[in-house]
Subunit: 576 residues, 2 copies
Amino acid sequence: MTGWKRYFPVFDWGRGYNRKTLGNDMLAAAIVTIMLIPQSLAYALLAGLPPQAGLYASIVPIMLYAAFGTSRALAVGPVAVVSLMTAAAVSRLAEPGSEQYATLALTLALMSGVMLLAMGLFRLGFIANFLSHPVVSGFIMASAILIATSQLKHILGVSASGHTLPEMLTSIYNGLGGLHWPTVVIGVGSVAFLSWVRKGAGPQLARFGLPSAMARTAPIFAVAITIGLAFALDLGAGGMELVGHVPAGLPPLTIPDFSPDVWTALVGSAAIISIIGFVESASVAQTLAAKKRQRIDPDQELIALGAANAGAAFSGGYPVTGGFARSVVNFDAGAETPAAGAYTALGLALASLTITPLIAYLPVATLAATIIVAVLSLVDTHILRESWQYSKSDFAAIAATIGVTLIGGVEAGVLTGVGLSILMHLYKTSKPHMAIVGQVPGTEHFRNIERHAVITDPSVLTLRVDESLYFANARYLEDRLYAMVAERDQLKHVILMCPAVNAIDFSALESLEEINRRLSDLDIKMHLSEVKGPVMDRLKRSDLLDNLTGEIFLSQHAAICALSGLRDSKEALCDD
Amino acid sequence: MTGWKRYFPVFDWGRGYNRKTLGNDMLAAAIVTIMLIPQSLAYALLAGLPPQAGLYASIVPIMLYAAFGTSRALAVGPVAVVSLMTAAAVSRLAEPGSEQYATLALTLALMSGVMLLAMGLFRLGFIANFLSHPVVSGFIMASAILIATSQLKHILGVSASGHTLPEMLTSIYNGLGGLHWPTVVIGVGSVAFLSWVRKGAGPQLARFGLPSAMARTAPIFAVAITIGLAFALDLGAGGMELVGHVPAGLPPLTIPDFSPDVWTALVGSAAIISIIGFVESASVAQTLAAKKRQRIDPDQELIALGAANAGAAFSGGYPVTGGFARSVVNFDAGAETPAAGAYTALGLALASLTITPLIAYLPVATLAATIIVAVLSLVDTHILRESWQYSKSDFAAIAATIGVTLIGGVEAGVLTGVGLSILMHLYKTSKPHMAIVGQVPGTEHFRNIERHAVITDPSVLTLRVDESLYFANARYLEDRLYAMVAERDQLKHVILMCPAVNAIDFSALESLEEINRRLSDLDIKMHLSEVKGPVMDRLKRSDLLDNLTGEIFLSQHAAICALSGLRDSKEALCDD
């Protein structure tokens, strides 16, 4: 794909489209549509928006992703974590439920769309790499706990508020006096039913030859049954919170807020939502593509998600991304091309035209139950155990991300995780492993003098550095080297052995020049050995090689044979 | 040195103290004292403080450094860049010249002292490594330009203000109408005299057998001559700005502000001043120590600078650090131990008791001239040229640091430089060099298939990664590897060749586990070859080795002989 077509993968997969692909895509779309109706309503609730916003956010964005996306199975729409982040960002500026709140959610979607598009067009997808996988896992785990807790009040029928775990728990505890028992029955019953289906129904369906992905349609049954109960028993009159009037119709044309003040207030949140959304979406897309030896193009994915979010902004939605659950269901149900997404969008459009009168009787507790069951599957503690075992510092980053997310909120949590990962990486590489090496007798190998019986010459110091040299460790190298030199009176030659030095940045170059100068003052020559090709190419652009008091040797053995008194020893093998 | 004595290097060098050392230290102290009198007054002016604050800041801090410091020649006191940063930080909160301003400067010194002490006790000196050398050079260059510009008004006798280059230049331009010609004569004359001495006097003194460091005492002559002129011609009455009344006396006991609001407002500035001060001081100390094969201990240096700053806070000073010019003069004049610093402190104490009546007649233009001549020697553009040649991205970091410092001020400049260095490092390592390798026929060597004529087997893919694997590049490795696998139908084995992988963090471990899982789904085995000892030790703590579908080979050659159809080829040398 070249030229403008490169931005429209639809021209790629569209050419091979046939009757069989159509059939598979339609079946997958039907299953996903049924799964998405309650999920979309529920996530809109989580985001603090009217339920139809969830349906709208699933229609236009899905179609735009189908045109621009490179994943064959990714399903785009509202997801739990992004809904929570939207609520956290927008509720700082407006009252949930108000018109202004909805407009700010649209604005957030537009800003996120613009940022994702820009990152895609300028090929800045690498920014997402700064979110380490453990940090993302920790963040999602903590978000899931926050989300589940935020829904407890709907299941218990109490009024509560707050955005952090301590706030919410205190608030729910204080509200326990107002427990509404019919709500508890509906809510806890739905959680129990949905958990049972999630665990047990897949294999049962498989026994009857049905796709196990159909188990994911269970929420629609919970919805249908509780609507029936609410209508028959008039539970709304008994004080149960129902969804209430939802206007029927296709997604409306909506206009986000363009005032600079609003954009300034939301820019940080939009950036975090964009990056978290992209990371989540790309990892789902990558997983599914790899299963079929297909590829996704991360930069094109940014463009597709950007288009989807911009679309959400102008069609009554809020920030969207590729969701894990819906994409896996889409994949398992046999979707072969992004067209399955387009059919899903049609299905949801039909639903939003027809079923809204029924939704009025839907207990909010049912939606809360679908959210709780969905997000609790994201809580996975194996990463804590494994990271503890592998590396205490990585564990600390994950634990800090989880703790700060729970107590300080989602944005503080993400920023803590990213900051800690970067600091720890810099710290670890700032004191690189280095070893003084000597020759293994009778071989051309050189090993750490502390671990092996090797031969050395007091007039030659060979230091092997096991790390790229850059600003964070350049001074450490200087410090260590000067300390070693200060201890050795007979020293005439220092050899830096560089087989593991993959790069030398300008700071490190300056340190090497300084080392060369200072050793020269002490009548010690500095040499380099086993410098890699790309590193050497770059050093040739500097003055170091001209000013170097010593030489550059292709191998450490050649260096020792040229410089050391050892060359006369038989064991050094300098026989030439 | 062990136990508590380790924190008092004075017990180390004090034992060898004798008459000869005393003589050398006294001579050096005399020269440094004469140099420091005008410099201290001038830097206090730059910091927005009364002139005596500069003298006070040179007395107690020098003595504390002598007790705690590990450098034999470092001279601690007010320096240009830290004075500028003090002015930038404190003038946001109080009017220069006011009592509150002076108290805030004391507070800044105390906070800086506490931070440096804490960094030293907790061995956090590595934090300074995050300030790359080019960024520091660029920052100091830009600060020097800011400082010189800020003194122009004193030389021209105009009133002007501002903290950034555009502000100051505009303000001076608008004030040019009020040019005061006698001030211009004194100011420009002093600049010319001092520049001439700095360039030409050293060799002349050497011809007469005098230490060339004595040339650094020239400012005291400029001071003496212009005091004489101002007194004789009563220049003060003619409108020239003179230093005015300075109280005679030893450093007073002063109490910094302890209110939490003030500490909150200054904490960021104190952190930046501490780190910049430490980096400047440590690099001077390191340079001088290396010349005599001596060592400095960076963590102990932090403690010594912390004590010096805390001392400045309680004795009428402001933030101090080890200065380049004064330390080099101290070293060149023959100082052998930190005792030279103590004698300098005594000399300055004597001066502040006796010479203050004379200082009243000192033209401010003379002090401004000493500052301008001192800082312009810090402007050194070779780093721009060299970094441009070596690496465009390092050049960009330096240029951005300089630009932001000039236009946005010192703190914004430092933060920009640090942020850009870190981002660029992450970016560069986020797309590591990796090569598909094949065997060089008839050898056991493996080389990049794109650069060498090598033999490969279509069922085996060997990828050599030339970088440590960590969160910023783990996903890139996955992306690249899946793309390679998607292109190769006959693939049965993937070998990751790791001779340049110095570390694998938890993110990268998870990526490797994921790669292993996905390749397993495609019936491809994953192997590792040439894994380094420390990396292997850590991998043993994870589940990867248990779940690995393939094997771990000590050498790539062993891997090829075990896995590939090439083992039957004579050229592969698998003769065993």
